[in-house]
């Protein structure tokens, strides 16, 4: 929590600059260097207040979960500043008609001053100090026909009256249990965020590697760490997952057949799909092309691991890289489908390179210092993330983001330790990564400026996350 607070202070400012840059596509002045400094610029990020909602009768029992979910979903999106609940007035409206315009008394005698008489909660309670919010989300829940009903409103509290303040006014239905309560909270949050251009993460999945069952296997979970499920049971070492663009297949490397090779499973059925590995001592780091028809991977050719490509069933094998160096982790540009990032030792230690899918137009993106690993494309095809040891002893990786056009890296994590395998969320604003902050390695999410770090796993060691759309 402390880290979160520290990062919030530092990162909020960075959020204002980098977040706006990433979301709106505008360059906020000069691209800053590798530090996140505490410069506050007013770029108009709205402030929202979210009061704790309460429920009628049986609807009340899960409201703690509701309020936590609603708050986390909205704050985690990174598009709104959250007004602290400690500043809220005691008199919280639950429906629009609760708002009562205060009356102003007219002085009768000379010397009297006009006074404002509160008649109930009013917009200025929220727009004025100390809350100083632009928006207020409020409402209540009840049980209707055995179902949970959420009556939710979003008000622009800067407006002069309640009638013109309403932005959202909607009923949401769900099951009466905790899961249903969380779901209506997510639905409400998604509608709120949509007002500010944020893409919802609902339905997206994170696939990762966990050793908590006793061997490294492929697992999946929801974007918020719920529903963690074991997908493979080879009792071997299985790792390096990659998901097809339609979310239906997961490819990974496994020792289940002897030497490390690629296998592909259908996510829905768990069925193994045919993939003919090249005859080689190692086949690793699979990656689907954006059209889902081909698979890139790294495999030994002439004694060195090289980037290669084949059809999704392994036929039509073709070598791409042709150098006496180790080359791994091909990542195809999701926008163009024609160029790729990869890690190569061709200039010394492992560094980040870019080329076409035929291996032409080679370009090294990192300076040559330290070790670079695990590149990942933002869905916008312009920004990338990767892990790098620059500035630290070998083995101490941090997460960096970079605009490929300017090639200016921005460091997001600051400590020693291992922060690796960053992967962009489908919303282009969040990153998932692994970090060893203690005795074990766990999976975290954060915003593109390094703020809002949230831990998603706790059991065993959890590594190599990839963020994908849920299956259609």
């Amino acid at each position: 929590m402390k880290l979160q607070k520290v990062l919030t202070v530092v990162g909020t400012a960075g959020l204002l600059a980098v977040g706006a840059f990433v979301l709106a596509g505008r360059v906020a002045g000069q691209q800053r260097g590798s530090d996140i400094s505490g410069v506050i610029t007013n770029t108009g990020v709205p402030v929202i207040a979210i009061a704790d909602l309460r429920g009628v009768g049986d609807a009340q029992q899960n409201m703690a979960a509701f309020n936590t979910t609603l708050w986390d979903e909205v704050s985690n999106a990174g598009v709104l500043k959250m007004a602290s609940k400690s500043l809220y007035p005691l008199d919280v409206p639950q429906r629009p008609q609760d708002f009562r315009q205060p009356t102003v008394t007219t002085p009768v005698r000379r010397g009297e001053i006009s006074r404002t008489v509160k008649n109930g909660p009013w917009l200025t309670d929220w727009s004025g100090p100390p809350v100083a919010a632009n928006y207020l989300a409020f409402g209540y829940t009840a049980v209707v026909d055995g179902r949970l009903a959420l009556y939710g409103w979003l008000f622009n509290v800067g407006q002069p009256d309640a009638a013109s303040a309403q932005v959202i006014g909607k009923v949401y239905f769900g099951t009466l249990d905790v899961a249903g309560t969380r779901q209506v909270a997510r639905d409400f949050a998604a509608d709120i965020l949509q007002q500010f251009g944020a893409k919802s993460l609902a339905g997206t999945k994170i696939y990762f590697v966990s050793d908590r069952s006793g061997s490294k296997e492929i697992w999946s979970m929801d974007y918020d760490g719920m529903n963690q499920k074991q997908l493979t049971r080879y009792n071997s070492t299985s790792n390096m997952p990659a998901v097809s663009p339609d979310g239906s297949l997961v490819a990974f490397t496994t020792y289940a057949g002897g030497n490390p090779q690629i296998r592909i499973h259908s996510i829905a059925s768990g069925r193994r799909m045919p993939f003919y590995n090249p005859v080689s001592s190692v086949v690793e780091t699979p990656e689907f092309t954006p059209d889902g028809k081909q698979l890139l991977f790294a495999t030994t050719v002439d004694g060195w691991v090289q980037i290669c490509i084949a059809n999704v069933d392994g036929s039509g094998f073709r070598r791409i890289s042709n150098v006496r160096a180790i080359e791994v982790s091909p990542k195809v540009n999701p926008k163009t489908g024609a160029d790729m990032l990869f890690i190569s030792g061709r200039s010394g230690h492992q560094q980040l390179w870019r080329s076409t899918l035929d291996g032409a137009d080679l370009q090294r993106l990192t300076s040559g210092e330290g070790d670079v690993s695990n590149p990942s494309w933002n869905p916008n095809g312009k920004t990338i993330a990767f892990a790098w040891t620059r500035g630290y002893e070998p083995g101490n990786f941090n997460i960096f983001v970079m605009d490929v056009a300017t090639q200016m890296p921005v460091q997001l994590t600051q400590g020693t330790g291992r922060n690796e395998n960053p992967w962009w969320a489908p919303d282009g604003v969040h990153l998932v990564f692994s970090s060893k902050r203690g005795n074990t390695t766990q999976i975290y999410t954060m915003l593109a400026d390094g703020s809002n770090v949230r831990q998603l796993t706790t059991q065993g060691n959890n590594i190599q996350p990839v963020w994908a759309n849920g299956a259609n």
Partner: protein, 289 residues
């Protein structure tokens, strides 16, 4: 039957005459008959020989016919031959009884053989030494003969030829070393110290493969923990290939060497210091499957 002397003029042998005379004189009653008979005899033959004066005719021998002797009794049953061939067998082998019997109607051999024909053979498989008795019965009598078949335990199989002590390739490898080959950080080339180790390993492996032709070796490439997992998988692979190439150059058969990379997944130590890192940057020789 031997009648009395009967002859005409051929001779009347004096002895006979004397005998006849004596007899005659004894029996006066028959004298007359005798004289008559003698006269008749002489006249009947009418021989030219000098006929002696008719002697007193010999007394006739009166023979009563002897009673018919009973036929001789039937011959007794007789075993002319009863043998076993071979007489001594090992357990599990068989022996053949053979016999020849005459004058018998009921021929049997005990110990499970049973009734048999007069002449024949029978194969027997006794588990232990057995005496077979042939009993031949006939109207004239019974005959028995016994023959014994000795059964001995089979001899013990010969001991195996003295074995040249054969130990497995895996035992040889673990006993005689096959030291790890070490590498520099982020490197897969063979350093001088690695060259020495690999040369020794090559000699060892050539000996092992000659002694145990079915043995294969897996060259396991490893890394220290500091690089990324993906890159280290490739680096470990590169190291095991590099070691294999060197061994093949030293004459180790390539088809007996396989390679695998474990990246940084199989450390021999976990301390965060250079000594431990170096120990982990290795190719390890292990028995192949």
């Amino acid at each position: 039957m031997d009648d009395g002397p009967r002859s005409g003029c051929a001779s009347l042998q004096p002895e006979k005459v004397k005998e006849a005379s004596s007899t005659m004189f004894r029996n006066m009653k028959t004298v007359g008959a005798f004289v008559l008979a003698a006269t008749l005899l002489v006249s009947a033959t009418a021989c030219k020989k000098k006929v002696a004066p008719p002697a007193a005719p010999p007394a006739p021998v009166v023979q009563t016919p002897a009673p018919t002797p009973p036929p001789p009794p039937p011959a007794a049953a007789r075993i002319t031959n009863f043998s076993a061939e071979p007489r001594s067998i090992q357990r599990g082998q068989s022996s053949t009884l053979s016999w020849t019997v005459a004058n018998a109607t009921d021929i049997a051999i005990d110990n499970g053989v049973g009734t048999v024909q007069a002449n024949g053979t029978r194969q027997v498989l006794p588990n232990a030494s057995t005496s077979y008795t042939l009993t031949a019965r006939g109207p004239g009598g019974t005959d028995t003969r016994t023959v014994t078949v000795e059964v001995t335990a089979p001899p013990a199989p010969p001991p195996p030829p003295p074995a040249t002590p054969r130990i497995s390739g895996a035992d040889m490898l673990s006993r005689e070393g096959g030291a790890d080959v070490l590498f520099g950080y982020d490197k897969s080339d063979i350093r001088d110290d690695a060259r020495q180790v690999l040369t020794k390993d090559a000699d060892l492996l050539k000996r092992i493969f000659a002694a145990d032709p079915s043995f294969t070796v897996m060259l396991e490439g490893n890394c220290d923990e500091r690089g990324s997992a993906e890159y280290n998988l490739g680096l470990g692979d590169r190291r095991s290939t590099s070691a294999k190439d060197f061994l093949v150059q030293q004459g180790v058969p390539a088809d007996k060497l396989r390679t695998i990379s474990y990246g940084k997944d199989r450390p021999v130590c976990t301390e965060a210091n250079e000594d431990c890192y170096q120990r982990n940057r290795r190719v390890h020789l292990a028995p192949g499957q």
